[in-house]
Symmetry: C2
Subunit: 336 residues, 2 copies
């Protein structure tokens, strides 16, 4: 007979409940105990019976991750990291793309229980506040800027401070006519509003005047939008010598438009983005950016969800801020 | 009372069953009838009751899409297009990332019915043939090169011919020492084997000798692999004047390594990739590539699955080839 929970518990000198907690990836096990249980599991070659486990726990072992857009390299990278973090708890992650549409986000939140899903990690774009509370008793962890002091655990970076750091980096390099690409009008465009607020704060901090001719709106955050916005800035009266683009793909589009217009980067115009997607590490020039600690975001959302699935079912929503760092590369510093 | 199926049927002059077929996105409705029903739906403001519909049909309205890797821009773009195509049938798509691991692909195929999923669109990397038949009676459509004459409907492009076209483009430009980046040893690496076969066929066709010093293996298809392979090719005896990289991100990594080594693209070395991801349309230089008709692939896999969910449940597996085209850009032609 293959070894069971009981055998692992006996060998590790802990209760069956403790082994179960380790196997289920719950967090309230001390690292030392966890290590002892893991050793016993490996020594005995114990394989958790996933189906039996699910039967006992009433859980499916499946969580959902809902993001606005998978074509966005940032969300694609984040989704990949969350799948890997979840895999370490033997969870299957099913990913849903909402396109940021309120209707689909509402259906998602309302329809969770139908799909035998244990929990949801959700990066909402259209919904906020009370609208996010209708998930019944399916635990949910929120991602991104949309919601603060909302109804569920929430993980994000300090978006406004990060945007100010990116803009401040351009000012520190002596740039005086710093443009912003990525402003958006709708009140729901929280990411854009926060990054614009950070941009403005950094201009004020550097004693630079704000010039509306240097602020370019975009419909969405894609390369083509960045290129079009850059062309408008070059055709306008703003005469930018630097650009803070609100994400990396906007920045990469802007760089391409600059080179097409015969401008050098960073000689004529320095460019910084936001997200630290892989593209920017290999582009020409390589892209200066703000790097959220995406791996930590992925680890944390999975851990917070595991806690809500475990013994910390109740308790007030938690707000967790994750670190970020400025990553200067060739698009602002030039080639070494 | 809001309008129901019956009202739509009466207005359109068709049976309730026909309205139901249109609403459910089944295919065996003539375009004229479909248009009449759509007009009646719009005129009456009829909103299909999704829950009631599911109850009647025994379906959840949820399909799964399983891809090896979401961080790959190609799979991310394809997933986005499939979600959009499915949305036109009011299907929700849950996406699963397998990392191409046999164990996870097996669990996926075995575990379908548990998750109340109507059908699966699956791009397998590790599994093939018989192993793919265990999905019970959940309809499945396969994507990609891994399987031909397998157990289910299958949509792919002619990978070998496309690779030969990419290599032939370099030969037609007068390049004589054409390298290949992306070879892989494991027998399961079908994509790599097919693209290498196409590369070899095109060399033979152009009367160029094959030189092992011009073939670079990679562990995976990421930018860093492309850059490392390019550095090895430059350090070796091959003296390449052109590169066919087996996907676009390998090509973008290779281009960056060439520029870092002081080589011009395409002056010293012309580079072509494969996939036509968005990155390559905005990179410097823009990337020549092979463009599968990805929108058509997305449309077809959803249509084939809808047919299997509808009246064509049975019937032998279908093999569908989708068109591709060669897209020459700056990385082989230079700037206009």
């Amino acid at each position: 007979m293959p070894p069971g929970l009981k055998d692992v518990a006996a060998r590790a000198g802990v209760s069956i409940k403790t082994v179960s907690n380790v196997v289920n990836g719950y967090v309230h096990v001390s690292p030392a105990t966890r290590a002892r249980v893991q050793q016993a599991i490996e020594a005995l070659g114990y394989i958790p019976n996933v189906a039996a486990r699910q039967l006992r726990s009433g859980r499916s072992g499946v969580i959902a991750l809902a993001v606005p857009e998978l074509q966005s390299p940032y969300f694609a990278e984040l989704a990949g990291l969350i799948v890997q973090a979840a895999e370490r708890r033997s969870w299957t992650v099913l990913i849903d793309q909402t396109d940021g549409q309120a209707e689909r986000e509402r259906n998602l939140v309302a329809g969770l229980r139908r799909h035998a899903i244990d929990g949801l990690i959700f990066s909402p774009l259209a919904l906020a506040g009370e609208e996010l509370t209708s998930s019944g008793d399916t635990p949910m962890v929120l991602l991104g800027e949309r919601v603060w002091h909302g109804p569920a655990d929430h993980v994000a970076i300090d978006n406004t401070a990060a945007a100010a750091d990116a803009t401040g980096h351009l000012a520190a390099l002596g740039r005086r006519r710093i443009a912003a690409i990525g402003a958006q009008s709708p009140p729901s465009a929280v990411t854009a509003h926060q990054r614009l607020a950070g941009y403005r704060a950094a201009l004020a901090e550097a004693g630079l005047p704000e010039d509306p001719a240097l602020i370019a709106e975009v419909d969405s955050f894609h390369r083509a939008d960045g290129a079009a916005a850059m062309r408008r800035l070059l055709d306008g009266p703003g005469r930018p010598d630097a650009v803070f683009a609100f994400n990396d793909v906007l920045a990469l589009g802007a760089i391409r438009a600059l080179l097409d217009a015969g401008r050098s980067v960073p000689g004529d115009v320095a460019v910084i983005g936001f997200d630290d997607i892989e593209d920017g590490r290999f582009s020409t020039p390589t892209l200066s950016t703000v790097a959220p600690d995406t791996a930590e975001i992925a680890r944390l959302v999975v851990e917070l969800l595991a806690e809500r699935l475990g013994e910390e079912k109740a308790g007030p929503p938690r707000e967790v801020r994750v670190a970020y760092r400025l990553v200067p590369r060739e698009s602002t510093l030039g080639r070494a």
